[in-house]
Symmetry: C2
Subunit: 84 residues, 2 copies
Amino acid sequence: MDIITIIGLIAAAFTTVALLPQLIKIWKTKSTKDISNGMFMLFCGGVLLWLVYGVLRNDLAIILANSLAFIQALVILMFKAKYK
Amino acid sequence: MDIITIIGLIAAAFTTVALLPQLIKIWKTKSTKDISNGMFMLFCGGVLLWLVYGVLRNDLAIILANSLAFIQALVILMFKAKYK
């Protein structure tokens, strides 16, 4: 594995783990008033497209990051629908 | 420009535009109670690393997306500090 892929995987780890504190915060507070529905809908669409891009480029970092980000963003959207 | 780059640029447009509804929402409500500081700090670190990755891979879609995402995430963090 080359150094660029390793940087990509560290970047992927950061942006993937990034959604977790938000998920945990909503889980604890049951409040999503200040969270933008539009943001997480656009984000879900975007990471799906990045996933397609990663597959076409055969790029492991992009595939991993966006699969996990998609799942988390989807859970946040479901929380947003559940906890007004 | 090949079709994969075009898909990447569309993906980049989605994930870049994604942060705007959140920015506008905070701007209007002046409220960030439900927003996770940890999320946007990790996100800022992550997109900076993605930027390095994009430059090293000479990948226009990744460079554009992450430059703009970084600026917006930084503004959201500043809003978070300003509007408790």
